[in-house]
Amino acid sequence: MSASAPDTAAKPARGFRIDLKTAGPLLALALLVLLGITLNENFLSYSNLTNVLARSSFIGIIAIGATFVITAGGLDLSVGSMAAVIAGVMIMVMNWLIPSFGIGWSVVLAGMASGILLGGVAGVFNGLMITRGRIEAFIVTLGTMGIFRSLVTFLANGGTLSLNFNVADVYRPVYYDGILGVPWPILVFALVAIAGEILMRRTAFGRYCAAIGSNEQVARYSSINVDNVRLLTYILQGVLVGVAVLLYVPRLGSASSTTGVLWELEAIAGVIIGGTTLKGGYGRIWGTVVGVVILGLIGNILNLQSLISPYLNGAFQGVIIILAVLLQRERRTS
């Protein structure tokens, strides 16, 4: 039984040595930024950075939910398809409400509410199947991944669902505007990250997640309601998918069967790069944020230079993921 330690022996004060396991993701991020600066002077420009971060926000918000799910020893593969369904339903709800509410914020707000509600319901469904139905999380969410994906195709009749043009106009600022020039998606991402970090580190819920992922039996014997905590992680995940989507819809104003494809993998990759253990028991939100930003920057840097084809984006991301897991394994051998 090899005990995996999240942090190996706390180093005595003297003898400065960088702890690769903790600082690894930050180091990688710093390297990427340096690389970006040397390759293209536009990299550090305000518009480029906000652009990268805003695009990363959707995955980032979803990945923060995934951090809780994974820390508690679970997995949710359905988030990408769930995002597509939520986007589709939000658009339909808004279009459908126009005759009674008229064009305006009330329609948009109703759409947002429906999105978050649907996310929560989807999370409840996943969570109940896993905790009460006693089916492996992998199987359940693989199933709902297919169900959600085909639902959105069905709703869109194989094509695209488009938001009414006038409502889209009202809604657009939610993606493109912000406070003091910082776009809303980045602000919301930051807020969710801070709240997530506090939830993970400073509340009983976060402690329970880590305990359950570390050893479910120990958690049960320690009077933790394992099923309820697990269920909550999936609901939180669903709600956060809803939040991500309500920021995403104003960007394109449409949803189709290709919306959110592979988001689940990007989210999980961000979580793992950030240092959360895939088999549960240890998670850190700030790591996930760094992980998602790293993934975003790779794509961005590839687009800003001309030596390497941007089509290799996926390959670079893959290499980073494998490196991150290698580092994690290092952590386990004492």
Binding site: S4, P12, T203, R207, N215, V218
Partner: protein, 513 residues
């Protein structure tokens, strides 16, 4: 019988001036140790003395920081990762090391599977596994999965696995901690058979009588220092204990305070039936220590788990302070002031990858919330208290609990249970893997708790402990209550008679007497 071989045969495995540090913390200082074929050489010492570390070095799992190892007279560097098994050095770990999803037969042959025409010879492996288990008198199906076995059975599978390898040096780290008296005797028979064939056995145990019975020589470690290596004939359990702890150990058991026969029953169990439990009834009075004795698998743990709501009850009534209760979750019983401390500290008690603090407060996180947020200062204070009260020795609080010595893990778990400030405590094998000095401390803690009006159910396979502490003793057999002993009746032979089914209490007339 084997001692003549032991004294004449050349040394097979030796450590000379071996030291070991983890990071900057030294845990072993210049230890000399040797063993001859046919000899049983015991290693004893307090929790954290460095016993497990020493034998890990002797089997190649850890490399010494300085000093050397010789095997068959040659200085060697033992290969890491258990490859020393090929040289005939087989180690049975303190923490069990079985792959949970393999079957018993698979585990026994793991790494040296039998093959026929290049394919696994499953039938032969199953047959031979059954044969080894038979010599150990263990009744487990070779096809059973490891994760369905009890802790004791897992330990026996480990032993079977080691015995079935052609070991020249067999190293056992507290193999008997989870075994009952009968199982221990069977194991000893096997060890004697092996030593008669010339196998050298290194044996770690906290049970001094076992060491007196089995070993020819004893090496005593204290705080990583070699205190002495002496022949057992020159020793008494008392003198060993004194060498281990460095002070005289009198009164292992505290005096029993007079139980108040009129004290109200705080816990009454009537006709309890559950998985592995049939029709069990008993009362626990305020301030009482009620021992639960019986063979391993006799249903004592099952009773406890059914009471606190960990397992489903099929029938029966439980009353707490006269009020009927029906716990379906552990949290309910904890809230009602009834706490259960598991015997499986690695599987059910502690989060091995986490530090001391989150483990200590896991049961009672809610107590450390301020405005809904965890107050780490309050958690740290709780840890400081527990470290003092239970004498938990760890390098620092951030070290993963899996790296603590076994005894310190046990003390941490006791601290964790007591954090919930229960009125009734069910302790399942509370001194498993604990050295005598600490045992004494824990016995005094248990007695003090009872004296201040807490009520304790003490499940233990160590008869001495049950006898030394309990006011009354419930003996279980095959999931049923075989008898309840009081006062002068509480003797080893009487308990064994009930446990083995030779004697049976006529009716329930004693239960609430």
């Amino acid at each position: 019988m084997a001692s003549s071989v032991g004294e004449t045969a050349p040394i097979i495995l030796a450590a000379s001036r071996v030291s070991k540090s983890f990071g900057e913390i030294p845990v072993l200082f210049s230890i000399d140790f040797d063993i001859r074929p046919g000899e049983v050489h015991a290693v004893i010492g307090e929790n954290g003395a460095g016993k497990s570390t020493l034998i890990k070095i002797l089997s190649g799992l850890e490399q010494p920081t300085s000093g050397s190892i010789s095997f068959d007279g040659q200085t060697v560097v033992l290969p890491p990762n258990g490859a020393a098994e090929a040289m005939g050095i087989v180690l049975i770990h303190q923490e069990m090391n079985l792959a949970e999803h393999l079957t018993v037969a698979d585990s026994i042959f793991l790494g040296r599977e039998l093959k026929k025409f290049g394919f696994l010879d499953v039938r032969e492996m199953r047959k031979r596994a059954a044969a080894v288990m038979e010599t150990l008198h263990v009744h487990v199906d070779p096809d059973a999965r490891i994760n369905t076995l009890s802790v004791a059975d897992k330990q026996m599978v480990e032993i079977a696995k080691a015995i079935s390898r052609d070991a020249r040096v067999l190293i056992m780290d507290e193999p008997t901690a989870v075994l009952s008296v009968g199982e221990t005797q069977t194991l000893f028979e096997q060890i004697r058979r092996l030593t008669a064939r010339g196998v050298a056995v290194i044996f770690i145990s906290h049970k001094l009588d076992e060491i007196m019975e089995l070993a020819q020589r004893v090496t005593v470690l204290r705080d990583g220092q070699l205190i002495a290596t002496v022949g057992t004939e020159a020793l008494t359990p008392d003198s060993i204990a004194q060498m281990m702890v460095g002070r005289e150990l009198s009164n292992l058991y505290p005096p029993k305070h007079e139980p108040d026969v009129d004290a109200p029953a705080v816990l009454s169990v009537r006709n309890l039936s559950a998985l592995g439990v049939a029709d069990v009834s008993f009362d626990l009075r305020r301030g009482e220590i009620l021992g639960f004795a019986g063979l391993i698998g006799s249903g004592r743990t099952a009773v406890a788990e059914a009471i606190v709501g960990l397992t489903h009850r099929s029938s029966g009534q439980i009353t707490l302070d006269g009020k009927p209760v029906d716990f379906t979750r552990v949290s309910q019983s904890v809230d009602a002031g009834l706490a259960y401390m598991t015997k499986d500290r690695k599987g059910k008690g502690l989060l091995l990858n986490m530090g001391l603090r989150p483990n200590l407060t896991l049961l009672t996180v809610k107590k450390h919330l301020r405005a809904g947020f965890l107050d780490s200062a309050s958690e740290t204070r709780a840890l400081e208290r527990a470290v003092r009260r239970f004498d938990i020795r760890a390098r620092d609080a951030s070290v993963a609990v899996g790296r603590l010595s076994g005894g310190n893990q046990q003390k941490l778990m006791l601290g964790k249970t007591m954090e919930s400030e229960p009125d009734i405590i069910i302790m399942d094998e509370p001194t498993r893997g604990i050295d005598v000095g600490t045992k004494q401390q824990i016995y005094h803690i248990i007695a003090a708790l009872a004296a201040e009006g807490k009520s304790i159910i003490l499940i233990s396979s160590e008869l001495q402990e049950v006898i030394g502490l309990s006011h009354r003793v419930v003996v279980m057999r095959n999931g049923r209550l075989a008898g309840v002993l009081e006062g002068a009746e509480i003797t080893e032979s009487e308990i064994m008679r009930y446990a083995a089914g030779i004697k049976q209490s006529g009716n329930d007339e004693r239960i609430s007497a």
